[in-house]
């Protein structure tokens, strides 16, 4: 061991689950955050995949009435938003977080706490978006999930044509 190596206290090989969970939640380590980003993306990949499946099932035959037009519109809006902002981007962030510091020989990302904060903001953003299925008073009952298309073109998203929260979630 050379003189300028840090002395790291030995961690016990097996730690209780709560302790390991606490380590993951409070981590500022770029590799762990990278893994969290990728896991987060994979969870939303399944969610977005379920939405795509509902759309394709609706389109299996003409004049199908598996879901109402309102639900179908929500499905493609949420599928688009989910797949771009909660799957594709977190996957890229995850790999970049994990690999780029290793590739350039840095010890961690600059501002590790900000890095951790960014991940948790993304995760909460995803949960908040999906809370729209339950929260808010929608045009068609409980929930006011965005239904104005993930491109969210005005004037369809304007108050005149989307009178409920819809894309404001």
């Amino acid at each position: 061991m050379s003189a300028n190596t840090f002395a790291i206290s030995e961690l016990p090989a097996s730690r209780p689950f709560t302790l390991r969970l606490h380590e993951w939640v409070t981590t500022v380590d770029h590799k762990r955050l990278g893994v969290l980003y990728i896991l987060f993306a994979l969870v939303f990949l399944i969610v977005g995949g379920i939405e795509a499946t509902i759309m394709r099932l609706q389109l299996v035959r003409p004049h199908n009435d598996l879901v109402s037009p309102e639900v179908f519109n929500r499905m493609f809006t949420m599928h688009g938003t989910t797949m771009i902002f909660f799957v594709a981007m977190p996957l890229v962030f995850g790999f970049a977080n994990y690999l780029v510091p290793l590739m350039i020989g840095a010890r961690d990302m600059a501002f590790p706490r900000l890095n951790a904060f960014s991940f948790w903001m993304s995760a909460l953003g995803g949960l908040f978006l999906y809370f729209s299925f339950l929260g808010g008073n929608g045009l068609y009952g409980a929930g006011s999930t965005p239904d104005a298309g993930w491109f969210a073109y005005a004037p369809l998203t304007a108050k005149t044509f989307s009178v409920v929260a819809s894309s404001e979630y």
């Binding site: 309102e70 073109y153 044509f161």
Partner: protein, 315 residues
């Protein structure tokens, strides 16, 4: 063959776009074949051999010839694609306007189409009638596109590329169909709940048939005694949204019903125009097109029959 087949153009703009897409497809197919043939050759020719001498192969640094080739050839390909696309865009956007051209004002509504023929004094909905255009003496139809609410897009694939209808931003497009018949299309810009059933029907008719249609559309409804159905129609909310020319019904929110029975479909192509469907549409529009802006009129069976009978006189 699908009635909305993009590979079966029947009008000049669709035809030039189809020609361009085939040209681009041939170009990229050639690039694909050359690149993958070279790749396959290299993979096979330079695969590892059993008696390999393990020596490093000859290292070549720089080759003006090769570098020129892989710079100049892609530039030429891009230039050819650019020029071809520019020519097609120019020909579609700046067409000649022969004297026989017809002007139609198209207004997109949630979720139906309004057509006005200013030179012929005709207002109709959902079913556009245009004259057949003989390539030797073209009689194209120029469409001015407006929107009353959200964005829509006019897309009849066999006649022209799609063009958006944007509120407060008039757009232009044109068609000159070479074959008669019914051409189908679809609103191509997500515009709200019933975007899916905002269907387009374009009837291309030989000149004499088109003129006959124009004469019928220009006829005023005959003033006669009020039928029971007409009385109900004119004393309920129907008149707030619908127009029947020559009567107090002057609404503009819904389709003009002056010549309703000249149309083959109702609800923007969602249902055939039969008395049964018409009755259902007045009684419960959501049964045909959930989310449409037409309200259920809440009439009793007798009144429903009367209003349906009245609508069936609007020829």
């Amino acid at each position: 063959m699908s009635p909305t087949n993009i590979f079966d153009p029947a009008s000049t703009p669709a035809d030039s776009i189809f020609g361009l897409s085939i040209f681009v497809l041939l170009n990229v197919a050639a690039v694909f074949i050359v690149v993958f043939a070279l790749l396959a050759y290299v993979v096979v020719r330079f695969r590892s051999k059993r008696n390999d001498d393990q020596k490093e192969p000859a290292q070549i640094y720089g080759s003006t010839q090769v570098e020129l080739a892989w710079t100049v050839i892609p530039v030429l390909i891009v230039l050819a694609l650019f020029l071809a696309a520019a020519r097609v865009i120019a020909s579609v956007q700046n067409p000649p306007r022969p004297p026989g051209a017809l002007e139609v004002i198209v207004t997109g509504h949630q979720y139906w189409w309004e057509y006005r023929y200013p030179s012929l004094n005709i207002v109709t909905a959902n079913e556009l009638h245009v004259p057949l255009s003989d390539p030797a003496h073209p009689t194209p139809t120029f469409l001015s596109l407006f929107s009353a609410d959200t964005n829509h897009s006019f897309w009849v694939p066999r006649l022209a590329g799609k063009t958006d209808l944007i509120p407060n931003h008039p757009n232009q497009m044109w068609i000159d169909p070479h074959e008669p018949g019914l051409f189908l299309g679809q609103c191509a810009q997500y515009c709200g709940t019933q975007h899916a059933k905002m269907l387009l029907r374009v009837y291309v008719q030989p000149r004499d048939e088109f003129d006959k249609w124009v004469r019928e559309q220009q006829q005023r409804s005959p003033a006669g005694t009020l039928s029971a159905g007409q009385r109900i129609f004119e004393s309920t909310a129907c008149v707030n949204c619908h127009t029947v020319s020559g009567t107090p019904a002057k609404g503009h929110f819904g389709p003009d019903l002056t010549h309703l029975m000249s149309r083959a479909t109702i609800a923007a192509g969602a249902a055939p125009n039969t008395s049964q469907m018409l009755r259902l549409w007045i009684k419960n529009p959501d049964a045909i097109k959930p989310g449409s802006k037409m309200p259920a009129m809440g009439l009793n069976d007798q009144d429903l029959d009367a209003v349906t009978a009245y609508l069936e006189t609007l020829r």
